[in-house]
Symmetry: C3
Subunit: 335 residues, 3 copies
């Protein structure tokens, strides 16, 4: 039994097969791959798009999605083995995962970090515990990575720039009023490097480097593919000749959960919004961003409203790739 | 492509066709008009009845409803063109509406005014922006009008008093502890006048006049039909000879959002609850109210529990008329 | 028309028939008993398991479940006949129950006591009012009893210890940081006595006696069956020779809603957690607990992780028995 927790656990060929399957679902949305089957969508954080696309996708495949809103701390869950549960947690993940597995055929989980302690949270304890104790496949709907978004993005990239191998991929930090989760940034790094692109990471300061696990993984994928991973604070160099630009804002990990000290570093990126001037430096690059997206803060209207912007296609692709993922996991088959 | 935002955009013949279609669904609830189709139900305000009737209605037509609870400000949305989104809004309605349109075939929205500024809120900015940017039909589940309730009410009226043309319709303000939205009052005015009734608006004071847009529309409909629109503070005159009484409470627009000054005017309506004495003045009128309804505050138990009360039929009709609306919009056909 | 409010209203033979039907659903989950039918799941308190198992169960029978989250007091409901509704309640249960009945074929309700006044709350006013005014069958998803859990538990007991008649059933109070609802304890008492077991109730102090209604009912069932009901504070005596141990924590009724005075009595049960030493006194008893369950507070890990623990089977059985209940009520047939 396989889970879909991170694209790191799946080969490039397998991921490509999921994307190819997703393209067929885009042409022909209905199917019966989940006939008589069900999926629990467990949300520890809010969602509109993910909830809609998973629920609808399951329905279009003949299955049934059950949305469980675990927000608000109403159902805190214990992960520690042997814990004396006299605190806030009402239930151990052992029981939660096993009981849910006795009802449904797939479990999908969204659980962002709590922004308290990156050393603990980088281990992604909740979804890892679910994956350990569940007796059905578990799908990551965004934790500290966002693998469904990765596939949706790569599908949109291939649809617009064709074969991505050897192309220049720019992941640029962009401004945002608040320090955000690194999940989509980690994921952009993983998928672009895994699919053979030259990857440039543009950050306002070294403190915005992503977690070493993802830096190392991208380094390895680039090494395997004979491509390069470059980290830079030089906006002009980063954009020059890029074929794809991906925007994301995140909080600097050294200040994780204690954001006060981050402000001066964040200020260095004040000019990092994607605009026409920067785009003019690229090789007619496409631009994307996972949604939601703050216009004129992360990306200027003129770029969002230009043909270069493929963020809406990427959002639509979520529906298609998730159907491919659900089908593959539910049927225990290769994609 | 047509939306269902207000009955003002639909002819009387078209609305009657929707009601007639609803009657057939009442006889035979199942259908396949939404087979393979889906609807997003987006709630910015709570709902039990609307949520149940839309979800069930879509299911009975072979479709699939997805409920998106946007309450609690978790997903504030920007409507302004060109806004620099550095405030609380995480997403522009351009993206929200387009992405949702790429997933589903219909979008239904409930969004009450925020009671801050009627000049802005009378433009119904959220649903209007959704209708502008969505690429699928948008249905109003109550904003500053409540057109689904209108059809359900007219269906119940025709079922009980027959041909409504030339009949006397009384919309009466009734007491309530809090100043409420004018949506259902605006809607009652629109549908009764559009369907050729003589309309009487009974209010405790001139400050309770409804927005001029709806007063003017009702005036025009009455003019077209050769009927009359009367505004009065005289309870006895208002009830005398009425064939239908519709109860609603609302806050006086001149005090919108700053309700303190409204109290003395509200006090003038303290005796406006519908009771047996008032009903005795009518021509055996039927009585209704959209639900929820405070008993013995808005309408006396003796009236609610009498055969004259058609509020339960009206509530049931919501299911039927909404199926007619969804069918018509989803299939791009005339009703 | 019958409701499923308490097992007290159903004969042992009828309950056994529901359990037998549930066993057939466990073998063959799909059916069409709810084809074209719908159920409203109304939650006044949070739920993950109940929500999942009812929604999925309805779907597997060809029906459609609609989840209505009435938490947070957004929709307070009046129960009093003739009330002048000028307080917080927006709607009378008469309208709420009747309108819902006009949409759906079954109504299921979860509503815990508010922990304010046991004299009032022991009458279970909300679900009783729904049952009075609804024109469709009403199912109890946990109020002051939890009859669905009862059937799931009895099914698990019969699956493991066979014929339960004359066997020794121990309901033991167990520690918990907070005073909890007595529903599952009341229910354990009812079902074990009704099915002919000798029932032992182990409590830290007399103040933990359950409500007299349930004590009397169990006494009567035991009298009818020729078995015994024993209340004890003696741990050793209670466990000796037991065939089934059921764990539950609850608040002492004399301190209902004013828990400060309960602490010294609660302290007497500090050693009541189920552990290996206690289990060694039994006749190889099985152990269960409704979930969620705090490990190492209520039951030690070594017991939960042993083959004696049947709580997961009981949780799974919820799905099966609820399908039997829905089928039986929706079709107006004997089980």
């Amino acid at each position: 039994m396989r889970h879909f927790l991170s694209t790191a656990d799946w080969s490039r060929q397998e991921l490509q097969a999921l994307i190819d399957r997703a393209r067929r679902y885009r042409e022909s949305p209905q199917g019966d791959a989940l006939k008589g089957k069900s999926i629990a969508l467990v949300f520890f954080n809010p969602s509109l798009r993910t909830r809609t696309s998973f629920d609808l996708g399951a329905h279009q495949l003949g299955g049934h999605a059950i949305v469980l809103d675990a927000r608000g701390g109403t159902w805190p869950v214990e992960f520690e083995d042997g814990a004396i549960m006299d605190g806030t947690a009402e239930e151990h993940v052992k029981e939660a995962a096993r009981v849910l597995s006795s009802y449904v055929d797939l479990i999908a989980i969204r659980c962002f970090p709590k922004f308290e302690n990156w050393t603990a949270e980088r281990e992604d304890p909740l979804i890892m515990a679910y994956a350990k104790y569940a007796t059905v496949p578990v799908i990551n709907m965004e934790t500290i990575v966002h693998p469904c978004q990765e596939l949706a993005h790569m599908m949109a990239l291939q649809d617009t720039i064709g074969d991505v191998r050897g192309k220049e991929f720019l992941l640029t930090w962009v401004p945002h009023p608040k320090p955000l989760n690194t999940a989509v940034a980690n994921s952009a790094l993983l998928i672009a490097s895994k699919f053979g692109m030259n990857v440039r990471l543009l950050i306002p300061d070294e403190v915005y480097r992503l977690d070493q696990r993802y830096m190392d993984a991208a380094e390895k994928f680039c090494g395997d593919a004979g491509t390069s991973l470059t980290v830079t604070t030089d906006v002009k160099a980063a954009y020059s000749g890029a074929h794809a630009v991906y925007a994301k804002s995140w909080g600097a990990l050294p200040f994780f959960g204690q954001w006060d000290g981050e402000a001066p570093y964040r200020a260095k990126g004040a000019g990092f919004m994607i605009d026409d001037a920067k785009m003019a430096l690229t090789d007619n690059a496409v631009v994307s961003h996972c949604l939601p997206m703050r216009r004129n803060v992360k990306i200027a209207d003129s770029v969002v409203d230009s043909p270069a912007f493929i963020g809406l296609a990427e959002a639509e692709n979520r529906l298609h790739v998730q159907k491919a993922i659900m089908e593959t996991l539910a049927n225990g088959a290769e994609p």
